[in-house]
Assembly symmetry: C4
Homo-oligomer: 283 residues x 4
């Protein structure tokens, strides 16, 4: 993603507005963030309430007014974001640029188009904007630990997911064969749905095995699921432990080659062999 | 919280009572604790039984007598706590002071006010008083390991919770759109409720998807929930492992600057560089 | 538990029988174990099948014959165990001695007493005898890792359990207040039962909240349960990792003072400072 | 498993075909893999759709055509695999050889035999062929970490499984005794089925305790299950962490004896004592 740059010179109004809107500095920046998040949460709450039939009937006009109020507010915010950037195009094409636009479009579209329910869900996407709060440094580093743990585990997780999908396809087919349509297993896909519900230990109970053979097979699947749930947990835990260690005080960068060593007791760079500064005088 | 201090001089009755009531020393202190916990558990059990219609009808008078017996007992205990403190005000305003007062108030209030059910729940709060048992040193240190692990993870957990809330809001809206009111998804909030029930693998089964598209989406959510449950586990496990290691024999304090090093094989203080005593003679 | 000792001199029949029955040596000892486990599992299976009404009606005489066959077999085994021990009293009072006696008693008691169902459950206890297989050295050490991890975590788990019990009591009372008897929450104990079903993510769905407030509270409990499940996992994982490391090849005992060091890279005894043999010549 | 070897000389058509079909090299090898996986997934999807009654009735001829198309394709592939191997017999007897044969047999058998549903499930086994994708080196090493973690935990998991089975047998019998047939616990096996559903936190809700004693026992089982789920997670997590560490950059092979040391800070070979190259100049 191209870096967003402020328009105007330092000291100008647009430059100042950039820092208030896009950064999260103490003072007006923090206040702007707080107001924005409050507005987002209130507008999402309004959408939620509007979907409840009783509330929609009784408070129709208030909800319409509320929706137009927030649409106006977010429209102004969107224009302000465009105005204080040197490269507004980069913002428009960025992930948050698209989300910000989708926050205001539904109200305008509802003037021309009928399909209310679909537009409602688009408006719900506003909730994603709350993630802006994570530009705060403290959260960014924590989010990075989580994301890098997930990223480092992506191959292990892929292997695991393919195994899970194969298991639920085979188990679902077997249950369809064993239980049959008369016990709710109307097709192989519904058997697969049951296998996923069971293996993930969700267990809705809308489809359940009734025959002795089906229950025995189900028991095996449940105990297997109980053991299998340990695998992703183990993968993620091992990675989080590793990346926590790396991002804590223990990690140290080599002054010569810049390689970062996550082992807190490393005394020499693992890449170039130069002594690491911190414990240089120790031996 | 201001420290509670005993009233009276060492050797006086009030000073002795302070140690019996507030400390957990062998002898009378332990006996007092055991009696108190037995009384708390019995009174909570009485409240539980009183809420069962059949028992309330049959044993009404016994339950009322029981309630007044424990109210009298806890009132005496509350007055005794006040009496043996130099600064009773600090106790009254402390967390346990409020809980202790709430333990006896409902019975007195029931003489004036009608609303029985609400007062019942207030009386249930007595169960919180059981946590006094954790003043025992062994438990305090273990509870601290757990609490410090949770505290150290608070930013990671916040990031995780915001992500979960966003996911359930978006998934709940989609399911409302896909399944609609005729399959139990009467509004977006009920869709969100379903998403939480499913993602946490609780799976009540009071609302379940019936359409092929809804079941496919539900399957994706369940497999996602299966993977996501690994994240908080990974966060907490990594922290517990770290704080266990730090509080176990492996940790060593530097004699020069007092910094504690959790790495069991550290040979030099990570803060001031002085050799650590334990393995000083080893190299 | 007093150690069991073989009766008779080495070379005698009883001495040989002791090794076959009580030890798990290659040859007759292994064969005896395999036959015993097969007999236990078959007899348990017979008890299970007997409880199914259709099977009990159709195969009544076969099941009775089966039960008496295994009772005779286990009686002979019990007498043989008594006969080849120098101290049979220690065996009779040991855990497995009691379980072995309980395996044969129900059949004899059923000749005098009527209460069939209760005796059936006593016969089910035979399944515990399968744990004898764990006298094999490989399994004993693994079971010890698990048990020592659980034992080392006992204080943390106690703290955790008291916290869970307090939470479910308070949540169960609140749900009773919010939902009331008309939605299945007929008393505080049933509210607590619902809270346990929900917090542990079991989610039967026999009692579910119907009101908006109840569902909101339930959502909070479910997300909390999702996070809380991480705590015991973290406790046990940290302990298993620690005790695995200690019992793996990395651990080394000091030749001077006998202290065992779980850190695989320890080069000096952590208690007495003497160099450890394995890497002595390395520095 | 005997190693598969290409037929023909380097440069010949059969030698080239071997590399395209059995290896996963960039170029034609990758394209072949992608086409094969697409064909497998499409044919599995066709089998799934065929099991849905509405789709089977409406698109009968298209599904038959589709099935014969993929049967032809996989038959050609099977013959091609045989043709380009020096030792086709080893392939025929290998796991994937059997699976490949089972992918094409059902269509030919359906010409002679009636039993449609059973053959359907055999065709579903095609999904297992997707695992061929894991011949890619990156996935193989990750899959090996998972498999070696599971393999290293096999004794611990056996102990755990025997304990679980004993617990569910005893708990299931008790619930049968307490609740009885009138609340759905029609036999001990159905009690055991309920115990597995509950202990694994699946919780279908098709059988639920109704009596106070049954619910109390169920609560104990659920809290126990909540704690027990931590055990396999702990086992697997500890192993994955250990084998990740061993397979990550921290591991180093001794230049003298070839032993691999997973401890990243090892400075001397743990087997022969020779200094390890990486940090040789460091001390």
């Amino acid at each position: 993603m191209k870096k967003l740059e402020p328009a105007g010179d330092p000291g100008s109004l647009r430059f100042g507005a950039y820092h208030v809107i896009f950064e999260s500095e103490p003072g007006w920046g923090r206040i702007f963030d707080a107001v924005l998040i409050a507005a987002i949460l209130t507008s999402v709450l309004a959408v939620l309430l509007e979907s409840v039939p009783e509330i929609r009937l009784r408070h129709a006009s208030a909800l319409v007014a509320c929706e137009w109020f927030f649409t106006a507010l977010f429209s102004i915010e969107y224009v302000a974001r465009l105005a204080c950037l040197r490269n507004p195009g980069a913002y428009v094409r960025s992930f948050f640029g698209v989300v910000d636009l989708l926050s205001v479009l539904p109200a305008y579209l509802s003037l021309v188009l009928p399909g209310g329910q679909f537009l409602t869900v688009v408006r719900i996407l506003r909730v994603v904007r709350v993630f802006r709060v994570f530009k705060l440094a403290r959260y960014t580093s924590e989010a990075n630990v989580l994301l890098s743990a997930l990223y480092a585990s992506r191959f292990k997780i892929s292997v695991f997911l393919v195994a899970i999908v194969s298991i639920v396809v085979v188990v679902g087919s077997l249950m369809y064969l064993v239980e049959g349509p008369e016990h709710g297993f109307t097709s192989i896909p519904s058997g697969i749905y049951w296998a996923i519900v069971t293996l993930t230990t969700v267990g809705f109970g809308d489809i359940t095995p009734q025959t002795a053979l089906g229950r025995t097979l189900a028991s095996a699947v449940m105990i297997m699921g109980y053991g299998i749930i340990a695998v992703p947990t183990g993968i993620i835990t091992a990675e989080i432990a590793a990346s926590s260690r790396a991002s804590s005080g223990g990690a140290q960068a080599c002054a010569d080659c810049g390689a970062v060593d996550g082992e807190p007791d490393a005394r020499f760079c693992r890449r170039c062999g130069a002594p690491l500064a911190r414990k240089e005088g120790a031996s």
